[in-house]
């Protein structure tokens, strides 16, 4: 019996859904949503299935599939998951399922919207499961490009008008318009992909066996000089997507302007593509390069953490706060990776998952608040806790996870990262990192207090709590945050099996 190509099903189910939506569901908005829910539901079910049936003792790449595409050039459709990509696939599934429900009330051109969204998700899955660098790059581009349309067409423009002594900077840059954000994000990411492409070709040329296969490249090993420069190329290329400082400025604009589901997907999953790329291709294939650049990577990660948190503190637009908090949290992810230690890398991957879920929840909530109050301006809101207790509760859960409260998923990732930082070659990284959690508490609690606590703002009338399908996204994401906080071993276990071989290659 041939095994079921489960990874292909996960990857292509959304794409199939997108095609169905384009060709069969014109002017039938409910059908669009049902197709989207079913196709992502299939992916989610399969992701859960592989998550629980993955053989944790055997470890390595499982559910392997291979189909030769262009044998002379060594290009093959080669898929497989290890403990690390396993968790990422699960993350993608949870976020896209929640995202489908979070955009349930979208009215403009929902057919095209869902089709693009689903096509994009296929790209994301593809990157996480590909074991062929060429295919990986194709999927990567598929994940990045639809963003331009999704933000440019369905995005929103910030209502915040610049004031104060730095207003010139805002006016000059056109910050806040969706067209600007879409253009900036796309150009930035394409700039990054150029580096990735060069890196992949450099590996292909230097690998010696004319193959794009990840496994063969892993076995081959590379010359230290090659490793040095290719790692840098991967770091810059993937790092842009992961929001590394100072190449992060596309992310606040992009996330703030994007429609809810796209923000969720982008901040929740796409930024993880970047970090995943650095860990999988950077550290996995180029261990010497990783060791050489670890100091830079970790130090910039620390800047990310503190800088992102401080910048978030100064924002007055709710979506920008969350967007900058992503910049800060991605710092933890990159820091964990830079420590090149077992707890650090475990923490890094777990933090990718935790941050993905928490920021997805945040953006879903911000979308809901915006839908009810038609405002993202923090200081116009107040006392929403009375009229929307459910949203307030979910926001508090996301916030607590964000500031690293134990028993939420956010804590586990951060704590492991800290342990790794202490054991790394540069223990001082720990200090800015831990200070970052303190600053996170400041801006999260400030926002929570302003929006949900305090006397009710008189500007808003007839606000209501979430209802119907809106609950689905909130419930799924809050549930995952708490469960993975209390039972982190479920996820840390498989991640650890993927991290250990990585570290062994580092030592070698």
């Amino acid at each position: 019996m041939t095994p079921v190509p489960v990874l292909s099903i996960i990857t292509w189910a959304p794409f199939g859904g997108a095609l169905l939506i384009m060709f069969t569901a014109r002017h039938r908005p409910l059908a669009v949503r049902l197709i989207a829910a079913v196709s992502t539901g299939i992916s989610t079910a399969c992701s859960l299935w592989i998550f629980f049936t993955y053989d944790r003792d055997a470890a390595g790449f499982q559910f392997y599939e291979k189909l030769s595409l262009v044998p002379p050039l060594g290009i093959a459709y080669e898929l497989g998951v290890d403990g690390m990509s396993l968790l990422m696939v699960l993350l993608t599934s949870v976020i896209i399922l929640a995202g489908v429900f979070a955009s349930w009330t979208l009215t403009v051109r929902s057919q095209e919207f869902y089709a693009l969204l689903l096509a994009l998700v296929t790209g994301v899955y593809g990157v996480f499961v590909s074991l062929d660098l060429f295919i990986l790059f194709l999927f990567y581009e598929l994940a990045v490009l639809p963003m331009y349309l999704l933000i440019g067409i369905w995005g929103s423009t910030a209502e915040v008008r610049p004031r104060g002594i730095f207003a010139w900077a805002y006016r000059a840059t056109g910050v806040g318009t969706k067209e600007y954000a879409a253009m900036k994000l796309t150009l930035y990411l394409l700039f990054g992909s150029a580096f990735i492409l060069v890196g992949i070709f450099a590996l292909y040329v230097n690998g010696g066996n004319a193959s794009f296969s990840f496994l063969e490249a892993e076995a081959a090993g590379f010359d230290p000089i090659v490793q040095r420069w290719v790692f840098l190329a991967f770091y810059v290329g993937f790092g842009i997507l992961a929001g590394i400082w100072p190449l992060h400025t596309w992310s606040p604009d992009g996330h703030a302007s994007a429609p809810t589901a796209v923000s969720m997907l982008h901040a929740g999953v796409l930024m993880k593509l970047g970090a995943y790329g650095v860990v999988r291709l950077g550290i996995g294939l180029l261990p010497d390069g990783a060791i050489e650049w670890a100091f830079l990577v970790g130090t910039i990660a620390c800047i990310n953490i503190v800088y992102g948190a401080l910048a978030a503190m100064a924002q007055t637009d709710l979506k920008y706060v969350i967007a900058y908090s992503s910049v800060s949290h991605m710092g933890f992810v990159m820091l964990g990776a830079a420590t090149l230690t077992e707890p650090g890398l475990d923490g890094s991957v777990f933090q990718m998952f935790a941050h993905g879920i928490m920021t997805g929840l945040f953006f879903a909530l911000v979308g809901l608040v915006y839908e009810k109050a038609h405002s993202r301006e923090i200081f116009r809101m107040g006392g929403f806790g009375r009229t929307m207790p459910g949203i307030a509760t979910a926001f508090t859960i996301a916030g607590l996870s964000s500031l690293g409260l134990p028993a939420t998923a956010g804590f586990v990732g951060e704590f492991l990262t800290f342990l790794g930082a202490w054991r790394s070659a540069h223990p001082w990284w720990l200090v800015p990192a831990v200070a970052g959690t303190l600053l996170t508490a400041v801006y999260i609690l400030r926002v929570t207090r302003q929006i949900f606590w305090g006397p009710e703002s008189r500007e808003f009338h007839r606000l209501s709590d979430a209802s119907g399908p809106e609950w689905v996204a909130l419930a799924i994401l809050s549930f995952v945050l708490v469960v993975f906080g209390m039972l982190p071993a479920v996820a840390v276990g498989p991640v650890d099996t993927a991290v250990v071989p990585l570290l062994l290659r580092l030592i070698r």
Partner: protein, 624 residues
């Protein structure tokens, strides 16, 4: 024994979940869930305690929580004598306060939410005490902080309450910054976070390492237990409902720092220096907060500063190695301070929400049970001979005197005097001088319902008997000390003899002097309310404004931090980084605009350009 141990946290957790999920349906009947849950926890704690008395201890693990490489931390608990005592206090006082809350929160719209939070707190606090490793301790250390945050901000629509909740969380986070670093450092050097293994290896740690770790842990304790310089959140925390102030911000949660230091005594002793720091921070805080309590006009704020001061005593005690004295004071303080807070709540209830001492007075005849029990509480706090506080405070003073630290001892003796002054000042201003409230308010004064006064009486009884029951020194130390002996190293205190009696006499004199001063100032002549609230002298102003610490933090830390964040976000991010990005964009556009002019569309121009190109190429090839 294992069942009873796990049941202690399980009951309140179940209660919290039921009220959280079905709160809307349960509504006013929420106490039928919450109170029995706490009562059951108390019973389980008693069963556990009796097991411990018979000499049994327990360790066990529910499930391994985080396992990553060398790090293994489970949800594991241990019960020894110290934990058993703490559990009794937490569930016992917790139960009484739950009962009291039935009356106090009677007409609150968030009734079910309140009991859900309160149960969640009891769960977290019992788990904090039960935890057998530092990571789990940290988890519940944060969890009780969360409950505190939620309960301080319980009346979330009040701006002051919302602000206070936020402040409490953030100030605690500053402490936890240190605590977290300490735990991580500890794991790195000891390779484990399990108490028993850590303490067994404490002796092998370097002295500097041990000092670093201990001080970082103590930083967390400073935050949680409101010691200098992280004390500023506790007075503001009084915005929460009064039962919360009694349970969390007086009797249990704020003592977690003391518990943690006592629990980790092996680490602190290895360092030595760290213990000294603990003692001095405690001593200085004790007198610092006591001076502020002298002049506050809000009844709950007086008690809040008093709590900070009394926690200082506990730290001073554990800092000199008198762990049992510190824990004993923790226990007696839990009784009399919870009593005082609940009494204050009863007054507030009677006056329709009034907390200002300037608008009280003459309440004694109108609310006899409250007046009597609060007098007992104040006597306990002041350390009047015979009451619980007398035994515990005297033991601390004796231990410090024996330790040879005369400076610290005189500081704390002065503190005892101040304590007596403000305790009796509070009593006189509230109950025994002429009424100062409006006639209308005076008309409405009424004693609180039985459900509120009975907990007061129970706590008053405990304040009276605890000292006699377990606090009388004998040849082998107090009964309490004998019970805790397996946990703590013996601390030699000379009991009896001339020196001890002299000390005893001295502390009695000090308390009497405090009482006299308060009596002269507040009971012999009518008090003018405006004198209390309007500082006339700079010293009075300094104390009235709590040494301006809040304002200083605001100017030195909070404002600069926000200025920095605005500078980074608006100036650097939007100005410099985006400025550069946009400049690149514009440069490309400008360049393209320039290049566009070359494409004129005239064939002649293109032909000319081609010719020039060919000439240049040929010239280049020939020149080689």
């Amino acid at each position: 024994m294992s069942t009873s141990v796990w049941l202690i946290p399980a009951f309140p957790l179940a209660g919290a979940l039921v009220n959280a999920i079905f709160g809307r349906a349960i509504g006013r009947r929420a106490h039928w869930v919450a109170v029995p849950a706490t009562a059951a926890a108390f019973v389980a704690a008693c069963v556990t305690f009796s097991g411990v008395v018979r000499g049994a201890t327990y360790t066990g693990q529910l499930y391994p929580w985080i396992v990553a490489g060398a790090l293994k931390a489970g949800v594991s608990v241990q019960v020894d004598q110290l934990a058993a005592v703490m559990l009794l206090v937490v569930t016992g006082v917790g139960f009484l306060i739950h009962v009291y809350s039935i009356g106090y929160m009677q007409s609150d719209p968030g009734y079910a939410r309140f009991f859900s939070y309160l149960n969640l707190f009891v769960f977290s606090m019992t788990m904090l005490v039960l935890a057998s490793n530092y990571l789990l301790l940290y988890v519940f250390w944060e969890a009780v902080g969360l409950c505190s945050y939620l309960l301080i901000g319980f009346w979330y629509q009040r701006p002051a309450a919302a602000q206070a909740g936020k402040k409490a969380f953030i100030v605690n986070r500053v402490g936890d910054f240190g605590f977290g670093l300490g735990v991580i450092w500890l794991w790195t050097v000891a390779g484990t976070l399990q108490y028993a293994e850590v303490f067994a290896r404490a002796g092998t740690l370097g002295r500097a390492t041990a000092t670093g770790i201990a001080l970082l842990l103590f930083m967390g304790a400073c935050g949680k237990s409101a010691q200098l310089p992280l004390h500023t959140w506790l007075p503001d925390a009084m915005e929460g409902p009064t039962p919360v102030s009694a349970l969390i911000h007086a009797a249990t949660m704020v003592t977690a720092g003391v518990y943690m230091v006592a629990r980790s005594h092996a680490l602190f002793e290895r360092s030595g220096v760290a213990l000294e720091v603990v003692a001095w921070v405690g001593g200085v805080t004790a007198i610092f907060a006591a001076t502020i309590a002298l002049v506050q006009t809000d009844i709950k704020r007086v008690l809040a500063y008093s709590t900070i001061s009394q926690l200082g005593y506990m730290f001073a005690a554990v800092g000199v190695g008198a762990y049992t004295a510190g824990i004993f004071h923790l226990v007696t303080h839990a009784f009399f301070k919870a009593l005082l807070f609940l009494g204050a709540g009863s007054i507030i209830h009677a006056l329709g929400g009034e907390q200002d001492l300037r608008k009280m007075g003459g309440l004694a005849p109108r609310m006899v049970p409250t007046a009597v029990t609060m007098t007992i509480g104040a006597a306990g706090l002041a350390g009047v001979p015979g009451f619980a506080g007398f035994f515990s405070k005297d033991e601390i003073l004796a231990a410090i005197y024996d330790g040879g630290s005369l400076g610290l001892w005189s500081l704390l003796l002065l503190g005892a005097f101040l304590t007596s002054v403000y305790a009796f000042r509070l009593l006189f201003l509230a109950f025994y001088c002429a009424p100062r409230m409006s006639p209308e308010a005076a008309h409405h004064v009424h004693e609180s319902p039985t459900v509120m006064t009975v907990p007061l009486m129970v706590l008053a009884a405990l304040t009276v008997v605890t000292g006699f029951a377990i606090g009388i020194p004998s040849g082998e130390g107090t009964l309490f000390a004998q019970f805790l002996a397996p946990v703590f190293p013996p601390h030699e205190v000379e009991h009896g003899g001339f020196g001890a009696y002299a000390l005893l006499l001295l502390s009695v004199i000090v308390v009497a002097a405090g009482f006299l001063l308060a009596w002269l100032l507040y009971a012999t002549r009518p008090v003018a309310p405006e004198d209390l609230g309007r500082p006339r002298t700079p010293i009075h102003a300094l104390l009235f404004n709590a040494y301006y610490v809040d304002r200083m933090y605001d100017a030195v830390i909070v404002r600069p931090l926000f200025a920095l964040s605005v500078l980074l976000a608006r100036g650097f991010d939007a100005g410099v980084l985006d400025g550069a990005v946009n400049a690149v964009g514009r440069a490309v556009v400008a360049w393209a605009q320039g290049l566009r002019r070359v494409q004129t569309g005239y064939v002649v121009n293109y032909a000319l350009t081609m010719l020039l190109g060919v000439v240049a190429l040929v010239g280049f090839l020939l020149s080689r």
